[in-house]
Symmetry: C2
Subunit: 389 residues, 2 copies
């Protein structure tokens, strides 16, 4: 199923003839518009007539076969090598792209904010109008998934759950020696749990992006990956966001586990965070903004007397991040479930991930992955929410 790009024609309007990308295949917007991936940057121009690619000779054959493109051209057809030799790498590229655009009747383009300045300056020198698309139209289109894309995310999430189960089972079967988790006679470390997750994901056909297995004070920093021996009676945050290597779509899920006895504060934090998760989920439906869903989480925490970035923009403990984000070709994409989050639409795929952090207590985060439906949401996450293993 092809993505519906008609909104892009509307975005172009009367002022622009094309939507231009110059990026390699790791750029998800490039992959989405072109249906193609290559290790080196290549050029894609969307016009209402179709999508046109400009690639190196090395990629030409594969691009003809694989890309969702009306036409594929080669850099050598525009004397790329000579012009880069004469004008320099950046300006030369700009001039070549300008000629390619002229061949498709394009004189004025919109580009994403992260379009490369070198190419843009070269294009402008060659008389092409280049304007940044502040609205990031392709990101908006990507935020609404086709049923096929939702299936891709679902498949990645099944793999994710197997990896989470493998990790939980390691914690569960661990023994505690002097406050430290042990497995097969050795201290069980963040690194060992991460390895188990990675091996499981590999078996499931998923790539190994970063994984968080963070215990105690490490877990109090939402971006700390965690390291060293895992300790009993402390929260262990496990956040896994695999990418299916075939489809390139992601999943995302977090659970917090504890071996031993949680303190009264930790137990309260866990229960509050689960309550916040459920409050946010209850708010999810088309037409509701990401901001409103985020507010549902802040309400729960603030009612319990805990700080949030809403109550104190400089807060360094408490709920110090957004509630969630879209998931697809990128693990972080639109829509935002945050103070500036716009209205949700059916077939948005989003995370709901409230959490609390304090170096003196540790961290607690619970994250589900859901798809917005016509009248609410479907939770793609099939994994229990239990603190103590």
């Amino acid at each position: 199923m092809q993505p519906d790009l008609s909104a892009l024609a509307t975005t172009l309007g009367a002022d622009h003839d094309g939507y231009l990308l110059d990026a390699d295949g790791t750029d998800s917007t490039q992959r989405y518009l072109s249906g193609f991936g290559a290790p080196d940057p290549f050029v894609t121009c969307y016009t209402p007539d179709g999508v046109h690619l400009l690639v190196s000779g090395l990629e030409y054959g594969r691009a003809k076969k694989e890309a969702r493109a009306a036409t594929v051209s080669r850099l050598s057809a525009y004397d790329y090598r000579d012009r880069v030799g004469e004008l320099g790498r950046e300006t030369g590229r700009g001039v070549v792209v300008a000629d390619f655009l002229a061949d498709h009747g394009v004189e004025s383009v919109l580009v994403p904010g992260r379009f490369p300045l070198g190419t843009a300056d070269g294009l402008r020198e060659a008389g092409v109008t280049v304007e940044v698309d502040e609205a990031d139209a392709v990101a908006e289109i990507r935020a609404v998934k086709t049923p096929e894309e939702i299936d891709h995310v679902r498949r990645a999430q099944r793999a994710n759950e197997r990896a989470m189960a493998a990790a939980e089972s390691l914690l569960e079967s661990a023994t505690v020696v002097e406050g430290v988790l042990h497995h097969d006679g050795d201290a069980l470390t963040s690194e060992a749990v991460r390895r188990e997750i990675e091996l499981t994901l590999l078996e499931e056909g998923c790539a190994l992006d970063e994984t968080i297995v963070a215990c105690g004070a490490d877990a109090a920093d939402p971006h700390d990956r965690g390291s060293g021996p895992l300790r009993a009676d402390e929260p262990i945050v496990i956040d896994i966001f695999p990418r299916d290597t075939e489809t390139r779509y992601h999943a995302d899920m977090t659970r917090t586990f504890l071996k031993g006895e949680p303190s009264a504060t930790l137990r309260e934090w866990f229960d509050l965070t689960d309550e916040a998760r459920r409050a946010a989920l209850d708010a999810v439906e088309p037409g509701v903004t990401g901001a409103t869903v985020h507010d549902a989480v802040c309400d729960v925490y603030e009612d319990a007397g805990l700080p949030t970035l809403r109550s104190d923009p400089d807060a360094e403990t408490g709920f110090i991040h957004s509630t969630g984000h879209g998931v697809g070709l990128d693990v972080h994409e639109l829509p935002r479930i945050a103070p500036d989050g716009a209205e949700l639409e059916p077939r948005n795929v989003i995370t709901i991930e409230p959490g609390l952090y304090d170096p003196d207590v540790g961290g607690v985060r619970i994250e589900d992955l859901v798809v917005v439906t016509e009248d609410g949401y479907e939770n793609l996450t099939e994994y229990p929410v239990e603190l103590v293993v």
Copy 2:
């Protein structure tokens, strides 16, 4: 050991006060200059006084601890959220970065060619001079490694060799049934060999970037990853380029294997390619250009009557790529061992990878990874060159 950034001060000269980056931690230039990685874009400005970072509140604590920076500032200190709300995401970011630069006395910056246009336009509107550095000064600096960086590459290459050995051993122990390699009763596929490589690399602490295991006609396309059952009497190109997850440095190596009997043509191609490899290595020393090393490979192939891109720029069979490239934080970086390759310097880390391709014959490629020394090179590759397994 810190990289030597003094050449950057020279590049700035009298016309520019700073070298500016706006990229996330997957961008190697960003990681190199800042000594920091984050999942979302952040700003690094090199000035002759030191390196200054501008990051989100979420990354602030970690950046203070980990970055190679004289100062770290927070977006919130510049009212980022309000200004993006008012001016839009791109222009708002540009205005905030302009204020950050002003605080460091910076009015004119050089940026890499792939610097984001949105930020650049915002900066220019705010009166900051933004010019593309056509010479890509940081890439030039990155091309000369410190001894510590060379050790990182060496370590990744040891892991690479273990992965190659695991793959070769699978081929060696395979049986041949009706022309197809079998293992444990099943057809042995590209995918299965790739999985074995990935598992080995994972055990070695390396990340799983793409890997090529391409047989027969697949192998005739240098960028085809390969798929399906492996066949006897056909060449199998295995190209592995792992990244050490701790240091983020890469290795790169290719070998071509064959189970069964090579045709006379294949045997000739393999021997020629090994001769081309040795000819290129013989040419490697400081002061010699990448172009000269590349010519050494073309000479061998053309003397044998085979097409190269030097003899025919439109060639689709024969030697249809460059001889090599630098390897470091990126798997493809400077210097180029290609028609436009500049003079080699001591402590360049480069690949030498001649190859021949024809859909009717298959592909042959042999790739070593070497470091340029004061008087020649050291081959970092400790792996035999043998066609038949």
